[in-house]
């Protein structure tokens, strides 16, 4: 029973961690790519 509880808690924590990292990386990437495009526009 305790095992199952661990799976639930760890599972949700890992999902939020993985997707949180992905969110951060994508936000960073967006900033990295965007200025170059603006320069081209100017």
């Amino acid at each position: 029973m305790l095992n199952a509880l661990w799976v639930v808690l760890l599972g949700m924590a890992i999902i939020f961690a993985v997707l949180g990292v992905l969110l951060l990386v994508m936000t960073f990437l967006d900033r990295l790519v965007r200025p170059k495009e603006k320069k081209e526009e100017r």
């Binding site: 029973m1 095992n3 799976v7 890992i14 999902i15 993985v18 997707l19 949180g20 936000t27 990437l29």
Partner: protein, 380 residues
């Protein structure tokens, strides 16, 4: 020659389980053909079920063509992965990339998987021992909450669950039932004022470079943290790369059409072939279907709850309903939220916001599948 009892006259060898499954196969085909409920899947599943339950037919027995297909496509996990290439090629991630915060709604909506897993294990080997649910079975049942057929097949096959066929049928059937399952829950959780809440229009488009880098980075991030999800996320994002890179139009078209259609047909008939009466007709199978509803409901509740939190934290710039789209039932869930938004406010168009959360849910459900495959063997 023993004509009556031997390899002749199949109906004389028909037992009640096989007869019941022939009726169920008829219902599945009727749902697909007459009611248009996921016809692409339910018609092949119904046909496979019928073939597997004809006595002495041997289609699903060792050496039979359904058994060969099962060995080649399901046990090796090739079919769900090929389907994921097609799904990836079909999905436009732009609504998500414009609103990257929706990935958190996708994460929250995976709670249905873990909540249902916990409940199934509680009823099975975990505590009450009422049902024959091992830890692997409970995890496979929970994965119905991913609202994602290929992920359900991949996880339940890898964990070698006894209920793979029921799980797959439940996963695909409930996806079609999203417009019935979700609205009452959303309405119960969100007031009319909340449902009418308009979201700001997101200006600007996503650059081609970002769209190309997104699948590559997603595979690297997800794969390096949660390696068990690599086959699923790898195939999904490979398909998306074919779509977005612009260099392989013909491959992208093939993945979206011919390949996905062929594999879906083979997958459907093979899953149907796994529905042999003697194995399928047990009380646990019915409970698997009940658990499927629980999983979808918990997904919706968890998604909307995080949506409500985001609504408060953003100063009411996020409509909490889009949290319900965190399940990956794309595009049904987005349509449900768009409809409910328009009912509450005729000028409230939430479709693109909902689609953002919906495709984010697709990624989240794959990660959840990988997490299950990583954690469950650690606790067996």
């Amino acid at each position: 020659m023993n004509i009556l009892g031997g390899e002749f006259l199949g109906f004389l060898n028909l037992n009640w389980q096989a007869a019941a499954m022939l009726v169920i196969s008829g219902v599945l085909m009727w749902l697909g053909i007459a009611r248009k409920v996921e016809p692409v899947l339910l018609v092949p599943i119904g046909a496979g079920c019928m073939l597997a339950n004809i006595p002495l037919g041997g289609a699903a027995e060792p050496g039979g063509f359904l058994a060969i297909l099962r060995e080649a496509g399901i046990h090796t996990e090739i079919f769900p992965l090929l389907i994921f290439i097609g799904v990836g090629a079909m999905i436009d991630f732009e609504p998500f990339l414009q609103r990257p915060y929706t990935i958190l709604l996708g994460a929250a909506a995976q709670f249905g998987i873990f909540g249902t897993f916990f409940l199934a294990y509680l009823l099975g080997d975990g505590w009450l021992h009422i049902l024959d649910f091992s830890l692997q079975d409970a995890a496979s049942i929970g994965i119905i909450g991913s609202a994602d057929g290929p992920t359900s097949i991949f996880v339940s096959t890898t964990l070698q669950s006894k209920y793979t066929a029921a799980i797959v049928v439940a996963a695909y059937s409930y996806m079609a039932m999203v417009p019935i399952i979700q609205p009452p829950i959303i309405k119960a959780m969100c007031s009319k004022e909340e449902r009418a809440l308009k979201m700001p229009i997101v200006a600007g488009t996503i650059s081609q470079r970002t769209k190309i880098l997104f699948p590559i980075i997603t595979v690297l991030v997800v794969g390096l943290i949660c390696p068990k999800a690599t086959p699923l996320i790898g195939c999904l994002m490979f398909g998306n790369l074919l779509r977005e890179c612009g260099a392989v139009e013909s491959l992208s078209r093939t993945a979206q059409n011919e390949m996905v259609n062929i594999v879906t047909m083979l997958l459907g008939i093979t899953v149907g072939g796994m529905m042999a009466g003697t194995e399928f007709l047990r009380p646990e199978t019915i409970l698997v279907f009940v658990m499927g509803i629980v999983a979808f409901s918990l997904d919706t509740v968890a998604g909307v709850l995080l949506g409500k939190l985001m609504c408060v934290l953003s100063g009411r710039k996020v409509n909490p309903m889009i949290g319900a789209c965190g399940i990956s039932a794309f595009p049904m869930s987005s349509r449900v939220v768009q409809k409910l938004g328009l009912e509450a406010n005729p000028y409230n168009h939430l479709l693109m916001n909902a689609a953002g959360a919906n495709v984010a849910g697709q990624i989240a459900s794959v990660v959840a599948g990988g997490v299950m495959l990583m954690l469950v063997p650690m606790f067996i």
